[in-house]
Every structure is written in C-alpha cells, then in structure tokens.
Amino acid sequence: MYNPFSLNGKTILVTGGSSGIGRATAIECGKLGANVVVTGRNPERLKGVFDELDTSAAQRHQMVVADLATTDGIDCLTAALPNLDGLSSNAGTIVGNKPIRFLNEMDIQSIMQTNTFAHVLLAKLLFKKKLLNKGASCVFTVSIGGTLSHVPGSSIYGMSKAALDSFVKYAAIEFSARGIRCNSVCPGMIDTPLVNSPTLTDEDMAIDAQKYLLKRYGKPEEVARTAAFLLSDASSFITGTSIVVDGGYTVNH
C-alpha cells in the first residue's frame, strides 16, 4: 500500500520518552512501524511506555534508562545504540524558571543542561560515532517560547529553546554531507506533565487556552504526529527549518 508517511523498517531513537511529547512520539513511531529505542530517566515510567509500543508489524523495540543531563548518561546511551534512521530529541524541563531578578546560576545551568546542552552533545556523538545512517532525520522538540513568543518569568527556558532551535539549523548544514536532515518542532502549550506548573492555577490555564485560535491546549499526540512526519520519507526535502504546532497561538498575537 502507498504510504510515504510510514516509518516501517526505520529505527528511531526517542529521548525524553518516559512522559509527555517524547512518550507520545515513541508510541506514534511504533504505530507507524518503526523499531523504537526509547530512553528516559525514570525506569518504571519508561517500562510503561516500552510495554505500550506497538509490535503488530514485528517491530523490535529497545529501552535504555539514561539521564542525558550527564555525560555518563549520554555515553551510556550511545554505547547501547544500534544504527539509527531517526532521532526524536525531547528531554526538557521548566524547573527553575522564574523572573529574572530571582535567577541564580544553578537554575540557569540546570535548564540549559537539559534543554540545550544534552541535545547538542547527543547529536554530536550520534554523528561522530556514525550512528545516524545516511539519509537519517533528526527532529528536536523546541517551543514557541523563546523563538516566537516571550512571556514574563520564562527567560531561561526561552533562551534554552532559542539556542537549541539555532543549533538545529547548524546541524542541518553540517550533517547534510551525509544526507541527514535536521528540523525542529515548535509546540505551543501542550497538555503534558511539564506544563502543569504549580505556579499556574487551573483558572489561569483555562484563560490562557482561550488565546489559542482552536480554544484549547494541544495534545502530545498532535506534536508527535508532526515529528513522525519529519521522521518519515514524506518530508524528504525538508531540512533546516521548524514547524510550529500551536493551534494558532502565534498568528493571533
């Protein structure tokens, strides 16, 4: 059957796979026929996602528990990897996000480590160790925050995402020598554990959701399907760019 969106036969690494957008991407890739290598920090939650992965097309999945915020974690992951046709790089945090006058060095370093440095160092190692096959696709979860939208109290999160978005473009240029494509997905607010910050009330979130043309926050699957498109051969001429998945938030502001 004709289906350029299929991920049949592709092996795809999904980081940040134990929750939120990463989890949904791992599950979606499995449903589209990919062999999924799913990684995350929390062994129980990761096992839960691994058990949910579709195996109806005899896909072979693998799970690797690793903390990508540490060099050891990245080394440990890359040592366990098969050759890849795709990378979905998701690990992210908003912990330590606060107004500028209250920032401290530890908050800044910890957010930058998880949201920027970990993605950069993983991509570097995958490329250097030739773990990405020719024609592979790398998809990084960025955000409209810091790239297209700037709200008070989230400077370091935004900075970390804008830095990552910029890196993706450089990676697209340097990795193109092997025909490897690199793109980012920029979601607006998505219903995931990450955005359930205790600083926001349900009322705040309901009001905020009205700023979206579609009058709601997104679902993790809606971002996952965009990532799956970029991982598939259907997007074979797309590289060095970004797809906004925000229910019309940025066009409305």
Partner: protein
C-alpha cells in the same frame, strides 16, 4: 517572622506603587500595576526568603497581604 518585613519584600516587587501605601490589609491584586509577572515574583520571593513553595492557587485565594502572609507562616 514579621509582617512588616513581608510587606517590605512585597513592596520591592512593585515599581510604581509607593511602599508606604502597602499595609497588611492592602488588596494587592487590585493594585493598578498588578500583573502575572508580579504574581510569579511573589512566588519566587517567598521561596527565596522563606523557603516556602507557594502555589498559584495560594495567590488566587488570597485577597490581602495578610492572607498571603498567613499561608507563608503556616507552611514555614
């Protein structure tokens, strides 16, 4: 833990409101310059100075500075 110190710390977060106008009975969310940034700043200030993790909901249900101070005291 003194309410006067708490009021002074809150006053620091406002730029256009005279610190002398703030009292325990001030309905802080009705001040002209009240904003989501000031709400986030109160949460960060209370975390830094009192080691108490306020929630957005604590701000929502507090009307006066005294209400807020009571929550901080209960959780300190």
């Amino acid at each position: 833990m003194e309410i006067q110190d708490f009021i002074a710390s809150i006053a620091e977060l406002f730029e256009d409101t005279d610190a002398n106008d703030l009292t325990a009975d001030t309905r802080f969310k009705e001040l002209a310059e009240w904003s989501s940034l000031i709400a986030l700043s109160i949460i960060a200030m209370v975390d830094e100075e009192y080691d108490v993790a306020l929630k957005g909901d604590d701000i929502r249900k507090s009307n006066t500075i005294q209400d807020l101070f009571n929550i901080v005291k209960e959780n300190a």
